[in-house]
């Protein structure tokens, strides 16, 4: 701290006129009695400046700390995503859906994570890596084709897009020629707490809850076993319950291929025409559906078809032809769809997907009538592959 030398020129009470060493004439307040002619060292001038500088520096530090705290807060975990295959693991996500950390919840989970760098990557990217690895390591097989996702993302707004993550898993499966099924559950804070209390992952707890509601009586630990999970998830009533309760159930490509493309796609398959990439088919179907929405309106009675399927005991799923997401939005929606009675999958329009699942009304149950479903009756009918087939007049 620099002190300024000064000489006292004049005095009035404790206010002194001084000449400082830099040639400034100024007044200072001194509490000690000084005489004219005395050389003094001023601390006030420089000190005051220093004090201001210190205050500014302190303020800067505080602002920096606040920003750092805020950014830290942003980088802190606000959501958990559990992935249960046979390996079970948990991803910790920040508010931007970036993975802040991952940990294996069993030995296989740790094996799956071994050597993977996940921090800072997007949740979808990490999930794709994990599924790919699970396929390579034969955790995901034809016998064990299920991936159970569970999210507790109460601290995240908007909630983690589970349907998108389910798509990712499915696409990775398709890439490896595998039919991977996904069941995804979004837990509330209360359910998350309950899951922890029971020692289950969010995915396991979501499945257990759905199974319970579907009328299955099983111990909590059952959902921890991958074979048991496959058995539970294979049951139609559980699938129906999963759709009804938590919204995201995605079946693999093989199931969807047979069922979701409806009569038009089926006809091609049956005729031995090589299968087109699903995306392209989906797009074409969608385009055709849109074009023929008007002319095909009322061409078929999908309600009868659905009812027939239900009568035959085949679970009815609705989904997106391109995304293949199946959900339990409403029975009304379901009633708009055609369905291949030989397959356990179905699909519905793109917009329905957006209005369903996580994006839908959480309290809506099967049997309740959806306004959206009502509004979209004609569109849905137009989208129907059955209608398309008939409309084409083949």
């Amino acid at each position: 701290m620099k002190k300024t030398k000064a000489v006292i020129l004049d005095r009035s009470g404790n206010v002194y006129s001084v000449l400082t060493e830099d040639g400034s004439f100024r007044t200072v307040r001194l509490h000690e009695g000084r005489e004219v002619g005395e050389a003094i060292e001023l601390k006030e001038g420089r000190l005051a400046w220093s004090a201001w500088m210190s205050a500014a520096a302190l303020l800067l530090i505080m602002i920096t700390a606040a920003f750092s705290w805020l950014s830290q807060k942003d980088a802190t975990t606000v959501a958990f995503l559990s992935v249960d295959i046979n390996p079970s693991l948990e991803l910790r996500l920040d508010a931007n859906s970036l993975v802040r950390g991952a940990s294996g919840l069993n030995a296989d989970g740790e094996t799956l994570l071994e050597g993977l760098s996940v921090k800072g990557k997007g949740s979808g990217e990490v999930l794709a890596l994990l599924v790919e690895r699970a396929i390579q390591l034969h955790y995901l097989t034809a016998e064990h084709p299920w991936v159970v996702l569970g999210a507790s993302s109460e601290g995240m707004t908007p909630a983690l897009p589970l349907s998108g993550l389910a798509d990712t898993v499915s696409q990775v499966g398709e890439k490896h020629g595998m039919s991977v099924n996904v069941a995804a559950f979004q837990l509330t804070a209360g359910e998350e707490h309950e899951a922890k209390a029971k020692g289950l992952t969010p995915g396991e707890y979501g499945l257990w809850l759905s199974a319970q509601k579907a009328g299955l009586t099983l111990p909590e630990g059952a959902v921890k076993d991958s074979s048991e999970r496959v058995r539970i998830l294979s049951q139609e009533k559980v699938q129906a319950q999963v759709q009804a309760e938590k919204g995201t159930l995605k079946l693999g490509q093989s199931d969807r291929k047979a069922g979701s493309y409806g009569s038009g796609a089926s006809k091609q398959d049956k005729a031995g025409v090589p299968e087109q990439p699903s995306g392209r088919i989906d797009n074409e179907l969608k385009k055709d559906g849109e074009q023929r929405a008007g002319e095909n309106k009322g061409a078929v009675d999908p309600l009868n078809s659905v009812q027939k399927n239900q009568l035959e005991g085949i679970p009815v799923f609705q989904g997106d032809p391109s995304k293949g997401i199946i959900n339990g939005q409403t029975n009304t929606n379901r009633e708009q769809k055609t369905h291949d009675p030989e397959q356990n999958s179905g699909w519905k329009g793109e917009e329905d997907r957006e209005n369903s699942g996580l994006g839908g009304k959480p309290g809506q149950k099967q049997g309740e009538k959806s306004d959206i479903g009502e509004q979209r009756k004609s569109d849905d009918a137009a989208d129907s592959p059955v209608q398309k087939g008939k409309g084409q007049g083949h």
Partner: protein, 247 residues
């Protein structure tokens, strides 16, 4: 001269250690120094006597130059005391003693306390304590205040107009140094009581507005610098940074 004295060819740089080495080793340097310092000795002796003195006519000047020579012998560099202040004190004390010896002390123009101290002729630099330096400074301040008054200025005025910005202040200090160092311009100041602004602007290269705005400060600083034999302490506070002696 055997030693490169100050830039203006007058007194040497008293803060230069080499000068003091030369002074002790070379008699010619001392002679040159005494010659160069005659104006200072004349000024101080004149102050003490309260009248104009002349070399060869007034014995007081002989006493004063002896005192100055003693100051050269006893001065210690680096003690925080300006040599000229020390020399001035010794000159004053020697002259007071001289007056006593001449039994003319009743005619002394000095204050009583100063006279009382005059008995101590040999004052070491260490003895030149803060109290005495304060008294010296106070004396300079008092005279400076009186001089300012002649130009209708006061310390309050200077506080009010003192440039807050360092660059402006230093520019004005340099301008004041040039003004005080220019005999023609300075003579105009002393005669008319005003600064020849246009001429100074031409000399310094500073904008006329800058000089006008800092007129009072400029004049005060120029007064301190111009009277270099008088404001030994105060001028050190207003000299441009590059011209200041280490204090």
């Amino acid at each position: 001269m055997g030693f490169p004295f100050g830039e203006d060819g007058e007194m040497p740089d008293w803060e230069e250690p080499r000068f003091w080495e030369e002074l002790m080793a070379n008699r010619q340097v001392r002679e040159d120094c005494l010659t160069a310092s005659q104006p200072f000795v004349l000024h101080v002796a004149g102050q003490v006597c309260g009248r104009h003195l002349e070399w060869g006519r007034d014995e007081e000047l002989s006493e004063a130059i002896i005192a100055f020579n003693v100051a050269l012998d006893h001065f210690e560099l680096g003690k925080g005391v300006p040599f000229l202040a020390y020399a001035r004190l010794l000159i004053k004390r020697r002259l007071i003693d001289y007056f006593r010896r001449q039994e003319r002390h009743q005619a002394l123009p000095l204050e009583a306390p100063e006279v009382a101290l005059a008995a101590e002729l040999q004052v070491s630099v260490a003895d030149f304590c803060d109290r005495e330096q304060n008294r010296e400074r106070a004396s300079e301040i008092q005279e400076f205040a009186l001089e300012l008054k002649q130009y209708a200025l006061s310390f309050s005025d200077l506080i009010e107009v003192s440039p807050k910005h360092r660059d402006t202040r230093e520019s004005l200090q340099r301008a004041a140094l040039q003004l005080a160092g220019d005999p023609i311009l300075w003579a105009q100041v002393e005669q008319k009581g005003k600064i020849p602004m246009q001429a100074l602007a031409n000399l310094t290269g500073l904008h006329l507005k800058v000089l006008e705005r800092g007129r009072k400060y400029l004049l005060a600083v120029a007064l301190l610098i111009a009277h270099k034999h008088h404001y030994i302490y105060l001028r050190e506070y207003v000299l441009p940074q590059e011209r200041r002696a280490a204090r």
